[in-house]
């Protein structure tokens, strides 16, 4: 395939779509599917056929519109009307309304903060693309960035644009993407590899899942551009097996891209060749750590190794390897199309662009959002998230998953970016935001995350393997009301030691939820230890202060 053919596919697809007066996208993301959006789609198709509307009304499975709490979502193009909470019984009414007044009681308010305050780059075509057809992506301008890179730009120019964009790794560490690409590009080796890390595993995080499910082609395009920039000929998409829909769509995307000459030998008629394979994670959280991930792809036990050497020099099978997160790659195509300076104009001084967050927990608008870097926690939680349901009181937001910490009410006006949250004892992380209200016990929260780290520790280094188990035991003892102040002292000592001496990020970050909750909610710990009560009423404490059974 050559660039002209790409344009032809786009024109043909647009013409075909233009035949339809109405195009209904029924969300086919995991959240809406769990609310039976697949049945709704079938009902639409059935009803359209019965009414003989097949020539003027198309029904397609679309991507996530973000408001997962109110699914299933159905959007109507070209009017842009969005329906939420659609049930099987609503199907005839929606079809009746096409070309007339919309169905008011189902309509989502697109002027609400939830939609208006977002800035979508990664999730740009959200809900208006068919994630299962490459033609749909090409018609929306897909693969133009790859064509531009391959035919108009040298690898150095591609890296230059990425560097200028100021893009930093979206997996959480925030390393400069341009710098990383540059390092791999400069490494001298006949064989280099690309890895796309789709092993998202933080509790409450589902950003990468949605990106892989909704924009598999855009992820592939980003990976292919990266391969061209650093000179790699083989790529691996490492996706956790718990994301079957993402795996299915990526597989189909690879097949379609290969068929269209957008992957494989001489891509778009140029001398550049690149192949991609999928590798499934087998459920270990630690395999999101890059050296463990590499070991896992090599077929070994997924355990991290000390760095340096970094994968950029010594990665897969000892060769230079570029490893980026799914969301990082999804940003590449828009950066190349609009230029690095365009991207750098969004966000804050040191954190450029936008970030996708998964809002969950005690919040009205549970779902997926994308906002410019530097938006305050308050705007995200109260305006976009719609605040706390049931009139309860906000307590804290957990960011950064099991390696992060919580942000209490007094810091709600802190901007969210790579650097601003660090002084609070947490970090932005990969994008999970768990909102908690006064029904949550912070000791219980710390215990939950410690249990997660304990069971997900690979066991290679002593501090993480044994330390997390001891810390879990101590936290459990506190929640049972059996701990002493000496136990609290030991817990703090262990927290310091484990974070300082562990081998990889899992162990180094594991004590963070404990440190953070101790910093802001020490009184809750003391209530469990000294007064033998759980202020939130979550923990089951059976003995009072004097040791009498309650």
């Amino acid at each position: 395939m050559i660039v002209e053919e790409l344009n032809k596919i786009a024109v043909d697809e647009r013409q075909e779509q233009a035949q339809f007066n109405h195009h209904l996208f029924v969300c086919s993301g995991t959240a809406c599917l769990s609310a039976h959006s697949d049945e709704i789609k079938i009902a639409f198709e059935h009803e359209v056929e019965q009414r003989g509307l097949g020539k003027m009304c198309a029904i397609t499975g679309g991507g996530c519109r973000g408001l997962c709490a109110k699914g299933p979502m159905v959007s109507v193009e070209p009017t842009g009307i969005l329906y939420q909470g659609v049930k099987l019984g609503d199907v005839p009414e929606i079809l009746d309304s096409l070309g007339k007044e919309p169905v008011n009681h189902l309509q989502a308010d697109l002027n609400a903060h939830f939609y208006q305050k977002q800035h979508r780059i990664v999730l740009e075509y959200s809900g208006k693309l068919d994630p299962e057809r490459i033609e749909s992506y090409i018609a929306a301008g897909g693969y133009n960035a790859l064509a531009k890179a391959l035919t108009e730009m040298t690898p150095v120019e591609v890296i230059d644009q990425v560097t200028r964009s100021g893009l930093r790794g979206r997996g959480g560490a925030g390393y400069s993407t341009g710098l990383k690409w540059n390092t791999v590009a400069k490494a001298q080796s006949a064989q280099k590899y690309i890895i796309c890390n789709g092993d998202e595993g933080d509790p409450g995080a589902f950003m990468d899942r949605s990106v892989m499910e909704d924009y598999p082609f855009r992820v592939l395009e980003g990976v292919t551009i990266a391969a061209y920039a650093v000179g790699a000929s083989q790529g691996f998409l490492y996706v956790r097996a718990e994301y079957p829909l993402a795996v299915k769509r990526l597989k189909s995307a690879i097949r379609q891209a290969e068929k269209r000459g957008l992957l494989g030998t001489s891509i778009l008629g140029t001398a550049f060749s690149f192949d991609v394979e999928i590798r499934l994670g087998a459920g270990a959280f630690v395999c999101g750590e890059e050296t463990a991930l590499i070991a896992s792809i090599e077929g070994k036990r997924g355990t991290p190794r000390p760095r340096p050497p970094f994968p950029a020099e010594h990665g897969l099978w000892g060769e230079p390897t570029l490893n980026n997160n799914v969301e990082t790659y999804a940003n590449i195509a828009p950066i190349l199309q609009n230029g690095g300076d365009w991207y750098a104009a969004i966000g804050t001084e040191k954190s450029k662009g936008t970030k996708v967050f998964a809002l969950s927990g005690r919040i009205v608008n549970t779902g997926l959002i994308e906002v410019p870097m530097g938006m305050t926690v308050r705007e995200i939680v109260e305006h976009i998230g719609g605040g706390i349901p049931d009139g309860r009181k906000f307590k804290a937001v957990q960011t950064g998953g099991p390696s992060g910490g919580c942000i209490p009410e007094q810091y709600l006006d802190t901007p969210v970016d790579y650097d601003s949250l660090l002084p609070l004892g947490t970090y932005m992380g990969s994008g999970g935001m768990i909102v908690m209200d006064d029904t949550s016990c912070m000791v219980d929260v710390a215990r939950y995350f410690m249990e997660f780290c304990m069971t997900e520790s690979c066991g290679k280094c002593v501090p993480c393997r044994v330390g997390t188990a001891h810390m879990y035991d101590l936290l459990d003892k506190i929640t049972r009301g059996e701990a002493t102040l000496g136990d609290l002292e030991l817990l703090e000592k262990l927290a310091d030691m484990v974070s300082k001496t562990s081998l990889c990020g899992l162990g180094q970050g594991a004590p963070n939820p404990v440190k953070s909750t101790l910093r802001y909610f020490r009184d809750e710990y003391l209530a469990h230890i000294v007064d033998k009560v759980c202020p939130a009423g979550v923990c089951k404490i059976h003995h009072d202060k004097e040791g009498v059974l309650q």
Partner: protein
């Protein structure tokens, strides 16, 4: 290509070493003690026990001396108050993790874990004992595996794989549930891959692997072949 020689400071004293040398190698060469447990010359370095962590000026992270290459003008500290405190906790963690009862152990008096405790003047531990339930495998005709005394240094796994090339041993489970298994968790005595070479037994730092018929304190490990490990490994390359 010629190998450059770099100079660095360890505990404020100046030393030199080849550019491919690790901090541990240079330190040992000059009799500067850095404790290790999972490290064994001739086997691939693991960086897992964290006993050899050192402080390096200019980085806030503690670095494992066994895998950290020296750099020109590097300033390394091996015995700071912080490091000693962490080392004590690591040894305490190992004692609390398994069931280490020196008084009834075949390796009493010849045990590397016990030695580390003595070097660090540990006479009791602050951490609660976890008292795990672990089954002894005495199915092999010549040797016994007592996982109660295992500290998961994985030396046995590495020597079996890298030197003997049998790969009888490996790890099963994650985190605190990790355990050394033979083949696919079959009794050691039924292992078709084990060559009974006894290398794993003799490089085991504790009494987790021992020869049958040995009573308390009787298991002295013959380490005379250790000097050849690096040579064997070099030849394999």
């Amino acid at each position: 290509m010629t190998t450059r020689v770099l100079t660095l400071k360890i505990n404020d004293q100046e030393f030199s070493g080849r550019e491919d040398a690790t901090v541990l190698e240079v330190a040992r060469e000059h009799n500067i003690p850095i404790p290790t447990l999972c490290f064994l010359e001739g086997l691939s370095a693991l960086g897992g026990c964290r006993l050899c962590l050192v402080e390096v000026k200019g980085t806030s992270k503690l670095l494992p001396a066994c895998v950290t290459r020296i750099q020109q003008d590097m300033e390394v500290y091996t015995e700071t108050e912080q490091l000693v405190a962490y080392r004590r906790m690591i040894v305490e963690m190992l004692f609390s993790e398994g069931n280490h009862v020196c008084s009834v152990c075949v390796s009493n008096g010849h045990c590397e874990l016990q030695n580390k405790a003595q070097e660090l003047s540990i006479d009791h531990i602050l951490l609660p004992y976890r008292n795990p339930e672990r089954k002894v495998d005495a199915s092999h005709a010549l040797f016994t595996l007592d996982p109660n005394r295992c500290i998961l240094c994985t030396r046995c796994i590495r020597v079996c794989d890298e030197i003997e090339s049998a790969h009888t041993w490996d790890l099963m489970g994650r985190g605190i549930q990790s355990q050394v298994i033979s083949d696919l968790n079959q009794p050691w005595g039924e292992s078709p891959t084990c060559t009974s070479c006894s290398k794993c037994v003799h490089i085991c730092p504790t009494g987790a692997l021992f020869e049958k018929g040995k009573s308390v304190s009787e298991m002295t490990k013959r380490r005379d072949f250790l000097g050849y490990l690096s040579v064997m490994r070099e030849n394999r390359k």
